[in-house]
Point group: C2
Chain length 126, copies 2
Amino acid sequence: MVTKQFSGSADEADLRRADSLAREIFSDVANKWALLIIEALGERTLRFSELRTAVEGISHKMLTQNLRMLERNGLVGRTVHPTVPPRVDYALTEPGRGLLVTVDAMCEWTHRRLADIDEARRRFGG
Amino acid sequence: MVTKQFSGSADEADLRRADSLAREIFSDVANKWALLIIEALGERTLRFSELRTAVEGISHKMLTQNLRMLERNGLVGRTVHPTVPPRVDYALTEPGRGLLVTVDAMCEWTHRRLADIDEARRRFGG
DNA sequence: CAGGATCCGCCCGGATACTG
DNA sequence: CAGTATCCGGGCGGATCCTG
């Protein structure tokens, strides 16, 4: 379970708040685009336009939307250079780096299991 | 990147196939309900109805849909007991257990960063 | 170049009813 | 109890246009 990992002397109301917060964060973060953005920023700081090509298939709208969300949660930092034309850099924060570790693990798992899954699908019939 | 981690003497076409497969798997797996189901099955084998209550908020339809998907990818095994009323058990396969490790890490990360994110949100303004 | 705003089609996902 | 089928509304997400 995502929730109910805290116990002890805390107030019940506090626990419920923590629970709903945890679920909210999980819902935010456990989505394809967010994780792909995190992964892309894992290598290095990227500009908006760079992210757009780094995360293949993402639309303008989804990119901004997810970037705002990640920024709101303090996982991605945003640096605006007051130049013309404007330049905006996105980079993982330290909490963001923590998440990156698990995303990396997930990507690695995907590749390690590629063959198994391919075969499983064939057996399943598709 | 999710893709392009293989290199060497393989055929270009093979690489592209592996890439698109990896993206497909990632899209399948990197969604809220799938991860919550994996997490729930991490503790023990569960019946359909048990999963329904274990994964809070999931609808009948989403549960079956995601279970089929996970089964198709060979991450979750399905055991039908020919009794009446019918009983169906769902359990992680060995590849599924591998994914569980990373999901667990993600949940742990969520809880570890709860306070930081809470504060980040407040600073962001909301 | 970054990104807000708007329109809108399509599909996700919930509710319900029905079968084995 | 487990699962499929159908209907349908809300929202996701793409395309486009516009600002600084």
